[in-house]
């Protein structure tokens, strides 16, 4: 058994870490909080130059032709740095959908541009408050033209290419829609100010069919993306724990380092346990994704649920360990708290993933 990433894969992770340490520190993240658009274009271009946008895209489409285990490690570093770039939307969702269902012409046209960083993507599904259901979707494509309003589109303000769920005849399908005059974009604030979020109104926008069975396709896409987002959550959780541990060691109260108090120490131990369980589940899911195993839906839901739990716990208790300082704008704790709560919803909420996990469980005699 070798349940670990290879030395080459770890080397890649280290290169990404060093690049982000140098170019996407918290000062860079903070610049986008009040700016417009809410993304770091320079970091995006840097990731493109390093070939990371096409980590799992075949070389024939301009990618690096590495694999999903590598992409998981890239995601982990992006999560640790809460990088303000549309990486997930573009790479885990739009590029992945093109790889899964795109025609050869669609793949040849879009994938090289995505890998080069010149085309950014966004997934547009949600139309109202509430967990996503097929009945919620009213956007419709008639004669190749899309009409409808998507109210929460992550990276919708910076996207060049939208992956849109819309009615098509008597079913829901996924369409590709280019940013054009018929696409009206309004940026809105979200709980995570380091993310670009927009409302996107499509008014007779030209739409190309990507996959007809859209609802099933979305589940397949989410299962794959859940693993990658889970690695982002893992990276964020680790950083939040590291911050909390460092503060508990240096902050003194009652004449001693606060980390020597068991009330603090035990909270940090619980954060560690949650993170370690999530990490091991994510490793398994990375293997399942890279090898496209039959148990990917269960592995993905498991990684997703435990990574969501771990990041939310570590981010919230990181603030608690920091006390009052943790609630200031100046300290970075809130940025991780915000990101943890954005990621917890980005691909469907925790309760939805819990339900998916239970549906994917084998009958008990097979465990």
């Amino acid at each position: 058994m070798n349940f670990d990433f290879s030395d080459d894969q770890k080397l890649l992770a280290d290169q990404v870490k060093r690049y982000l340490d140098d170019n996407c520190g918290m000062d860079r993240v903070r610049q986008v909080l009040t700016g417009s658009p809410r993304m770091a274009q320079d970091v995006w271009e840097g990731l493109a130059r390093m070939g990371l946008l096409g980590t799992a895209v075949p070389e024939s489409y301009g990618g690096a032709g590495a694999g999903y285990a590598e992409l998981c490690l890239v995601a982990q570093q992006l999560g640790a740095h809460i990088a303000p770039v549309p990486f997930g939307s573009t790479v885990y969702l739009v590029a992945e959908a093109l790889l899964l269902w795109g025609s050869q012409a669609q793949q040849e046209y879009w994938l090289p541009q995505i890998c080069a960083g010149t085309v950014k993507g966004a997934l547009a599904t949600v139309e109202s408050v509430g967990q996503l259901t097929p009945g919620q979707i009213h956007a419709e494509v008639v004669n190749g033209a899309l009409c409808g309003k998507k109210v929460v589109v992550t990276d919708g303000g910076v996207a060049d290419l939208y992956l849109v769920m819309a009615k098509h005849g008597d079913q829901l399908s996924l369409f590709l829609v280019e940013r054009a005059a018929q696409v009206d974009v309004l940026n809105v604030d979200s709980v995570d100010l380091s993310r670009d979020v927009a409302q996107v109104n499509f008014q007779n926008a030209p739409a190309q069919l990507l996959v007809a069975q859209g609802w099933n396709a979305l589940e397949v896409l989410q299962n794959r993306a859940a693993v990658l987002y889970a690695f982002e959550q893992l990276g964020g959780a680790q950083r939040a724990l590291d911050m909390a541990v460092a503060y508990a060691q240096e902050r003194f109260a009652f004449g001693r380092a606060i980390g020597s108090f068991q009330a603090i120490k035990h909270m940090l131990a619980d954060m560690f346990v949650s993170l370690k369980l999530a990490e091991s589940n994510c490793y398994y899911a990375a293997w399942a994704l890279a090898n496209n195993t039959a148990d990917l839906p269960l592995a993905a839901a498991t990684a997703r649920v435990s990574a969501t739990q771990a990041f939310q716990l570590c981010a919230k208790d990181n603030i608690q360990v920091h006390g009052g300082m943790g609630f200031t704008w100046e300290f970075d704790c809130h940025l991780y708290y915000r990101r943890s709560n954005y990621l917890a919803l980005e691909l469907g909420s925790l309760s939805e993933w819990e339900a998916r996990l239970v549906e994917a469980l084998p009958r008990v005699e097979n465990i």
């Binding site: 670990d4 035990h266 131990a269 370690k276 091991s280 739990q309 239970v358």
Partner: protein
């Protein structure tokens, strides 16, 4: 990442399988499969003698204590081979519980600290199951604060005279030998005045009293020492070095991986998959789904974490203190699962009579035994301290007993 065996590992696994197919007590398989939580079911056969028989069979063919040197009755195998063996032994490993403390904790301590002449005499009999060992560490006044123990050993010529009391000793009643930690000097700081011995459990002055536990069972004992004489050559490590020796013993608890720790998850999943709630399958209930998902990710996390430990072993590394989390997670989870299963059973959940309660009262047994899981072998709180201090590098708590003589440490009223 790769979950397959190397060719050498596959060959070793094949050998292990062949041996088990040809020699395991297959007549016990059906009973062993029905072993409840904390209980080895051997049907109409005597559990201890069946355990000793399987152990002897293994030892004669070199399948006992695989990692020990051959001169001590082992096989000289690698850690990963040991893991492969545990996986293959499967159901039959339920017969090995009697030997775990002796083989897993006492033996490594003897190998590190005892006189080699003792080891060549004692260890092969420990490996073959002919002799059983117990560990005499915890005391009424020294549980989590183990170094606060009071059992006194005084030098008397070439012997030591031991007086005091141990508690929570598993298997004392059928042990031949015990590993005993004592206080030999109360005038120095508490960690410095300790000395380790091994002794014949049949020595005059040793009295074993079973403890009736909160769940009504008796797995543990109190052991009383009244003027028990131990020859000085049965000292394990130097006088005053007992703490260092004890740490070696306790560190070896962590090595016992490869098997899986009971969480109660397979049981609750099976129950939830068949149970009804408000006239609908329980699995359709969002609350049930949420709890099952939460427990599953924990159980899966422990299992996947074990795979990472095995990887570490196969690369020549050792499991670290982070493995303290296994019991911390599993103990709490089992207690929660038991509580929830009873909740789903309504008032019938109160029944503990196996002939009428659901699943032969498996969840009721978990409910009543699980509090001990969170205490034995390190309480939840001690485990969190270990993670906090040894994994995360946090400073120790302030101690009221630091740097003062043991005899001057404040104690609770007797």
């Amino acid at each position: 990442m790769d979950f397959t065996d190397t060719p050498a590992e596959a060959a070793f696994r094949e050998q292990a399988r062949d041996f088990i197919a040809a020699n395991a007590p297959h007549y016990l398989a059906e009973h062993l499969a029905k072993s409840g939580f904390g209980h080895t079911n051997t049907g109409e056969h005597d559990a201890l003698s069946e355990a000793k028989k399987w152990q002897r069979t293994k030892a004669q063919a070199g399948w006992a204590c695989l990692q020990w040197p051959t001169e001590f009755g082992g096989r000289g195998a690698s850690p990963i081979e040991n893991v492969i063996w545990s996986q293959e032994e499967g159901l039959y490993s339920r017969l090995t519980g009697t030997f775990i403390i002796g083989q897993g904790m006492c033996a490594p301590t003897l190998m590190a600290f005892a006189d080699p002449s003792h080891n060549t005499r004692l260890l092969p009999k420990l490996a073959s199951g002919e002799e059983v060992w117990c560990q005499l560490f915890s005391e009424p006044h020294g549980g989590s604060d183990l170094a606060g123990l009071r059992t006194k050993a005084e030098k008397d010529g070439d012997e030591w005279l031991v007086n005091g009391q141990k508690i929570w000793t598993s298997g004392a009643q059928h042990s031949d030998y015990g590993l005993l930690i004592t206080r030999t000097d109360a005038t120095v700081a508490k960690h410095k005045g300790l000395t380790m011995f091994f002794l014949d459990m049949k020595s005059p002055g040793v009295r074993i009293v079973p403890i009736k536990q909160a769940n009504g069972n008796s797995e543990f004992n109190e052991v009383y020492f009244e003027n028990v004489r131990i020859p000085d050559d049965q000292r394990v490590g130097g006088v005053g070095e007992g703490w260092r020796v004890a740490i070696t013993t306790l560190m070896n608890e962590r090595m016992a991986i490869g098997g899986s720790i009971a969480t109660g998850f397979p049981e609750i999943l099976e129950w939830a998959q068949s149970a009804q709630l408000n006239g609908r399958p329980a699995l359709e209930d969002p609350n049930v789904k949420s709890k099952l998902a939460d427990w599953y990710v924990k159980a899966a996390g422990l299992k996947n974490n074990a795979s990472r430990q095995i990887t570490t072993l196969s690369k020549g590394g050792l499991p670290g203190p982070e493995n303290s989390m296994g019991k911390l997670v599993a103990g709490n989870m089992m207690q929660d699962i038991a509580k929830f299963a009873l909740d789903l059973q309504g008032l019938s959940g109160v029944l503990v009579d196996p002939s009428v309660a659901e699943g032969a009262a498996r969840f009721q047994a978990m409910l009543l035994r699980s509090p001990a899981v969170r205490i034995e072998g390190g309480t939840d709180q001690i485990l969190r301290n270990i993670i906090g201090e040894r994994v995360l590098g946090l400073p120790e708590d302030m101690r009221a007993d630091k740097g003062i003589a043991f005899s001057d440490i404040p104690t609770s009223a007797l």
